[in-house]
C-alpha cells in the first residue's frame, strides 16, 4: 500500500511514547522521499496519457462535426482514478513526513527545558538538522533569559514556583560554621535550619543538606512564647 513506509515512521514515534526520542530514521525518510518521486513521475506519465487521450477524442469528434468542448478527463476513469490515487498518496506522504518532523521537534524542544545541553546519548538519536535546531532554539531561549537582553531569570530552573525564598533544610553531615547572608550557622548533623533557598542549594547538591517539609517541633513551641 502507498504511504506504508511513512506511516511506519509515525508509528515509531507513537510506540516509543511521548517522553522518548527514538533515533532519527534517515534511511526510511529517504525511502519515503523516493516513493514521492516515483508517484510524481507516474503522475507526469498519466497526465501525458490523459492529455493525449483527450486530444484524440476531441479530434475524433471534430472530424465527425460534433462539438468537442464536452470532453473531460472524467471520460477516462481508468487513468483519472489512478491519477487521484497517486496524487492523494503524495499528499499523504507529505503529511506523514511533516508529522514525523514536527513531533520530533516538539520533543526536542521539551528537552531544552529539562536539560541545558544534549547528552551524547540523545545527540546520537538526532539528525544534523535537529541538532542545529536545538542549538538555535537554545540560544534563543538563553538570550530571552539573559539579564541584558531578556528577563534576567532562568526560567527552566523551577518547574513549579518556590513557595518561599527561604527553606527548611536538615543537615546530613557535620560541616562546621558557614556564613550565610542572614548570619553564620553551625551545620551540625541532624539539626534543622531555615536558610535562603539560593544559598542552601549548592550545599544540597553537595549532599550536606536535604530539604525538609517543615521546621523542628521546637520552632512551634517557641512561637507560643510570644503569646
Amino acid at each position: 500500500m502507498f504511504g506504508k513506509r511513512a506511516v511506519d515512521l509515525v508509528k515509531e514515534l507513537s510506540a516509543a511514547g511521548s517522553d522518548s526520542l527514538p533515533p532519527y530514521n534517515d534511511e526510511q525518510v529517504r525511502l519515503v522521499l523516493e516513493e514521492i518521486a516515483e508517484h510524481s513521475a507516474t503522475l507526469k506519465e498519466l497526465s501525458g496519457v490523459l492529455n493525449e487521450k483527450k486530444r484524440l477524442r476531441e479530434a475524433e469528434l471534430e472530424e465527425r462535426g460534433e462539438p468537442s468542448t464536452s470532453v473531460s478527463f472524467g471520460d477516462f476513469p481508468e487513468e483519472t482514478s489512478a491519477f487521484i490515487v497517486h496524487h492523494t498518496s503524495i499528499l499523504r506522504n507529505k503529511r506523514l513526513l511533516l508529522t514525523y518532523m514536527k513531533e520530533r521537534m516538539d520533543r526536542i524542544k521539551r528537552l531544552r527545558w529539562q536539560q541545558r545541553s544534549l547528552s551524547e546519548d540523545t545527540k546520537q538519536n538526532l539528525s544534523q538538522a535537529e541538532i542545529e535546531w536545538f542549538n538555535t532554539y537554545s540560544q534563543l531561549l538563553s538570550g530571552y533569559m539573559r539579564r541584558d537582553t531578556g528577563v534576567g531569570m532562568d526560567l527552566t530552573l523551577d518547574e513549579s514556583p518556590p513557595k518561599d525564598p527561604d527553606m527548611y533544610v536538615r543537615v546530613l553531615r557535620d560541616y562546621g560554621e558557614v556564613a550565610f547572608s542572614m548570619g553564620s550557622v553551625v551545620l551540625k548533623k541532624g539539626s534543622t535550619h531555615f536558610l535562603p533557598r539560593a544559598e542552601a542549594d549548592p550545599l544540597i547538591r553537595e549532599g550536606v543538606l536535604c530539604p525538609s517539609q517543615s521546621g523542628p517541633i521546637e520552632a512551634f513551641n517557641s512561637s507560643n512564647d510570644y503569646v
Binding site: K109, R110, W113, S160, P161, K163, D164, D166, Y168, F194, Q213, S214, G215, A219, F220, N221, S222, S223, N224, Y226, V227
Partner: protein, 189 residues
C-alpha cells in the same frame, strides 16, 4: 514549558494562599502607614503583638515560619463544624454542603504549618476533612454517571480541587458527546 493547560493541585494550592486567615502577630510594625503593609492583594495590618489580624495565607505561613506569628484555627475548620458538614454530606445525596472554595488546600497548608492551632484536635480534624472529601468525591462520581449526552449536569458548591479532579474526564466526555451528536443532531436523546 507550559504544555498542560489544566491546573495541577499545586497550582490550586498557590491560588488558595490568597485566602485570608487570622493570625496573632508577635511583633509590631512601626511604619508611617499605621503599621500596615501594602501588597498587590490589598493592605494588611496593623501588626501589633497579641492583636489578631487578618492576612493572606501566604503571609501567615511566611511569618509563622520565622516565628513572628501564631495562626488561628479558622472557624469552619474545627471538629463540630466539620462533623456537622460531614453528616449533611452523607444525608443529602444530591446537594453539596457549602465549604470554602479552597477547603482542601487551606486545610492542607494549615495542617502542615499551623499544627499547634488545632491542639489535640489535629488528628480528628484531619480525619474529618478526609472523610468529607471522600464522601463528596463519590457523590460527584454518582452525579456524573447520569450524563447521557451533550447536556448539563447540576453540581453546585463544588470546591476548586473537586472541579479540577473531574475536569479532564468530564470535559473530554462532553467533547466526545458533542462531537458525535453534532454529526447527527436527530440522535440526541
Amino acid at each position: 514549558m507550559p504544555v498542560d493547560p489544566s491546573f495541577s493541585p499545586y497550582d490550586l494550592e498557590f491560588f488558595a494562599e490568597d485566602d485570608v486567615v487570622k493570625i496573632v502577630p508577635s511583633f509590631s510594625l512601626p511604619t508611617f502607614s499605621h503599621s500596615s503593609i501594602r501588597c498587590i492583594g490589598g493592605a494588611f495590618g496593623p501588626f501589633k503583638p497579641n492583636i489578631p489580624v487578618e492576612v493572606p495565607l501566604w503571609l501567615a505561613v511566611a511569618l509563622q515560619k520565622r516565628n513572628n506569628c501564631r495562626i488561628l484555627q479558622p472557624d469552619w475548620l474545627n471538629t463540630e463544624t466539620l462533623q456537622e458538614a460531614l453528616d449533611q454530606e452523607k444525608n443529602t445525596a444530591a446537594v453539596f454542603h457549602r465549604l470554602p472554595f479552597h477547603y482542601l488546600e487551606i486545610s492542607k497548608i494549615l495542617f502542615l504549618h499551623a499544627k499547634e492551632a488545632f491542639g489535640t484536635d489535629l488528628l480528628k480534624v484531619k480525619e474529618l476533612v478526609g472523610d468529607i472529601c471522600k464522601v463528596r468525591l463519590s457523590k460527584i462520581n454518582a452525579g456524573l454517571q447520569v450524563l447521557q449526552g451533550p447536556m448539563t449536569v447540576k453540581l453546585n458548591n463544588l470546591s476548586a480541587a473537586e472541579c479540577n479532579v473531574i475536569r479532564p474526564f468530564f470535559q473530554g466526555a462532553l467533547d466526545r458527546f458533542h462531537l458525535l451528536a453534532s454529526v447527527c443532531l436527530r440522535l440526541l436523546p
